[in-house]
């Protein structure tokens, strides 16, 4: 097992594209769950709007602390604009 940082982000589908781009630039792997609904400060994202603009996306990233440190500031800025949630937890990666 290896200690990693687990990052969970929920934000609008359209806005999330900038975040995956950021991850790509730093060659960080990620997982995406689409069609995510929710309620936050900016109201409901209920997927009813016939357009993914009204849906969220969930991003899951496991990375090293250094990688986290590299992306944390741009990430914070993006989320300040787009809204949403970003949680960081400690986790163990089952080596394989």
């Amino acid at each position: 097992m290896k200690f990693v940082k687990k990052i969970e982000i929920v934000t609008g589908s359209l806005q999330s594209k900038k975040i995956t781009q950021l991850l790509e630039e730093h060659s960080i792997s990620y997982t995406i769950i689409n069609n995510v609904m929710g309620k936050g400060d900016s109201g409901y994202q209920d997927g009813d709007g016939l357009h993914e603009a009204f849906q969220n996306r969930y991003l899951l990233v496991a990375c090293s602390e250094e990688q986290l440190n590299k992306i944390v500031e741009p990430l914070r800025k993006m989320l300040a604009k787009s809204g949403g949630m970003c949680l960081v937890t400690d986790a163990q990666w089952l080596m394989h």
Binding site: N35, S42, D48, G49, L50, H51, F54, G83
Partner: protein, 323 residues
């Protein structure tokens, strides 16, 4: 005759299924058309209407009507967001005023398609270029709305997405590409293409539209609750502005001698408001605006009003002026 037209329209399958959707929500039924099928059905409608319009154009060729109609469409899609913006700014902040203004400057493809179906049922002709007018009116209002917001908001100039970004997004949005693309392909393949695809694009069209309006009824009714927050001013806005725009449409069409069918479609474009393309673009470009206002207004007030009452009333007025 007025009343008869309205009753006829109320009694048409698409409108009745729209009601059924609304009733299902009111009696708290669990009836739903699961995602992403509504999106697929709306793609189908754009595909079919675009393709048929193109085939139509390939027969009729371009007449000078085209220039008039496309010109009117373009002008209105710039004027409407501007004048509504200044009305809305009296009651709302700049962001919400701009967002709603953009919504009303643009159009609702489904309202347009319902009007086409209304004309077809009555055997009234319309020009295939009206499809192009619809496509033309989708996007400019987004750009006008965003420019207005940037001009009147305090920190308007530190926006990251330049106006050019908004331009590009407005012009490449999926529904515009789908309608214009299908229209052009319809022109290119002409009668032959039309015949080959007829069972898919024409025969089952009305059925799919009817089924889709069931989902629109579900959607609209779910949004109605959000209107309480919007208040009386906005709700009134959602009915008065379409009527006002429709009156402009009817008068201008009368003055310029636009034919009955085209006049109805143009009037419906003026009177309708976007609930897909514009809200989606605004959500990204103007996150400060509240989607709880601009979406329900067009979807739960203006859309039902136009589909249920507007279309037959506008049509009556056009004929009344003409006679």
């Amino acid at each position: 005759m007025d009343l008869q037209l309205i009753l006829d329209n109320l009694g048409s399958p698409p409108v009745l299924f729209f009601f059924l959707g609304m009733i299902a929500v009111w009696i708290k039924s669990d009836l739903e058309v699961p995602q992403p099928l509504p999106k697929f059905l709306s793609l189908y409608l754009l595909f079919s209407i675009g393709f048929s319009g193109g085939a139509e154009l390939s027969h009729s060729g371009l007449t000078h009507d085209v220039v008039i109609n496309l010109g009117l469409a373009l002008i209105m899609s710039v004027i409407v967001p501007v004048y509504t913006f200044f009305i809305l700014k009296k009651k709302l902040d700049v962001y919400n005023a701009g967002a709603i203004a953009a919504t009303y400057g643009s159009i609702s493809a489904v309202t347009f398609i319902t009007a086409v179906s209304f004309l077809t049922d009555r055997g009234v002709e319309y020009g295939g270029y009206m499809i192009a007018a619809m496509a033309l009116m989708e996007s400019p209002a987004i750009i006008v709305g965003v420019i207005l917001i940037r001009s009147y908001s305090k920190n308007g100039n530190d926006q990251e997405n330049g106006t050019s970004g908004i331009f590009k997004e407005a012009l490449t949005n999926g529904s515009v590409v789908m309608i214009l693309g299908s229209l052009i392909i319809g022109i290119l393949t002409g009668t032959e293409g039309e015949e080959a695809l007829k069972p898919f694009t024409k025969d089952i069209f009305k059925g799919v539209l009817t089924f889709f309006l069931l989902d629109m009824g579900l959607l609209a009714a779910r949004r109605i609750r959000a209107l309480k927050k919007a208040g009386t001013f906005l709700t009134a806005f959602g009915i008065v502005v379409p009527i006002f725009n429709a009156i402009i449409g009817i008068l201008v069409c009368h003055l310029l001698g636009v034919k009955e069918g085209d006049a109805l479609l143009l009037t419906v474009l003026f009177a309708s408001a976007s609930y897909i393309a514009v809200p989606a673009a605004i959500r990204l470009a103007v996150p400060e605006a509240n989607p709880g206002l601009y979406v329900p207004l067009s979807l739960a007030v203006t859309f039902p009003f136009n589909v249920i009452l507007g279309i037959p009333i506008y049509y009556y007025c056009i004929n009344w002026l003409a006679s």
